[in-house]
Symmetry: D2
Subunit: 137 residues, 4 copies
Amino acid sequence: MGKVRRFSISIDRELLKKFDKYIREKEYTTRSKAVEDLMRSALVEKEWFEGKEVAGSIVLVYNHTKRELVAKLTDIGHHFHEVILSTQHIHLDEDNCLEIIAVKGTPAKIEELRNRLRATKGVKHCSLAMTTTGREV
Amino acid sequence: MGKVRRFSISIDRELLKKFDKYIREKEYTTRSKAVEDLMRSALVEKEWFEGKEVAGSIVLVYNHTKRELVAKLTDIGHHFHEVILSTQHIHLDEDNCLEIIAVKGTPAKIEELRNRLRATKGVKHCSLAMTTTGREV
Amino acid sequence: MGKVRRFSISIDRELLKKFDKYIREKEYTTRSKAVEDLMRSALVEKEWFEGKEVAGSIVLVYNHTKRELVAKLTDIGHHFHEVILSTQHIHLDEDNCLEIIAVKGTPAKIEELRNRLRATKGVKHCSLAMTTTGREV
Amino acid sequence: MGKVRRFSISIDRELLKKFDKYIREKEYTTRSKAVEDLMRSALVEKEWFEGKEVAGSIVLVYNHTKRELVAKLTDIGHHFHEVILSTQHIHLDEDNCLEIIAVKGTPAKIEELRNRLRATKGVKHCSLAMTTTGREV
């Protein structure tokens, strides 16, 4: 986040009216921030597509009562220690755990970790939030 | 597409540099068109989400050698004639057909048609391209 | 669609109950077809990811009153004639056209065509339905 | 994760061959686990679509040198304390922070929180990983 540049764009009048309504609904206070966010989203998608270093979180839901499962997940974690930044653990209820793993690395490596976790018996769901390291956007 | 409005926005300088590179890669010639497209994509997503009247195409791949299948698909088509605008048929090879159905209606109705088609024995894949009727964006 | 193979799988009982409800809602009549479709969807996604030859449809919405636009789109179409199988045109209303282009080729080439179309002034929206040539699934 | 049920399905032979290759690549050891995961993914998508209570993580990247930003994000966090389970903070580099917020609640409420965070000046990117509370799948 450094200096900003001011410039003009020409947008279809009807479209702009709709967009202004949209940004109010999305809680934006300025058009600039809303347009910046659309730009960044497009660029972050590109970073992932092109295999650059990215960041994100892998979210797991599993049943902790399966003892060997926890040990197995820990093993996988150590094997991928280079992409794992930290881990957060939440007890959802008596049985279910939510584990959130912060990751940084290439999309391929992150995908490999995700596959490994998801394939582990006892893991119910495993999803991925993709974001950026922030250096390039 | 009516009159345009010209206005200024302030964008982080580094971000803008990256975005300019992005729009060249995506074959855009002006920033205005690139920003307009990001705006429209956000709005079209919202139209689908909110259940407004939308347009799109349903794409099917199936094996035409299954005779009853073609009859069944035709039946389904007639049942949903209110959302179907037209159909395009392509012979992919000896066995496989690509059928593209242009649709207009509520997302719920289009989804229902898609489910019905996809569930039909012999249909190998069924996907959906979502777009707009153009009236609102 | 050739011969089928019958085999057993073991699924968590509660999950299976939920899945049976899901497949009824999605209009499936057998578990086998529902599972087949999930398998195929995963494989088609992989085909696109790996750059194999795929099929699909590109859906455009534009305002036909812009004369040069139609000429431009035709030019682009000819330039990409190798990936374009056929085109379907629908008059959505006085102003808006829906054009659906059936395509077959590598994902990269299809993406290039889509970018070129989307970047054209007057095109309001351009989306893509990805499917398979059917040969591999 | 309770008792399992064993049952048979009939799958196209060619498709099954491809799927077996797919599950090896995705590190699965059994077909049952791979099919279970496809089933669960479909159900979790449905939970989000239908507005049931779900879980997930919101991932933010922002520049911490903007002091007011951190205060603002904390304010938003407190306002949404009912959906926020815990927060994890990572220093990506001198300037960039990765913040991962574990959430549980309705999709609408989670979406509202995400909009509020994303619209905050200084936040570069904000994405969402959707998963389940595990109770229903």
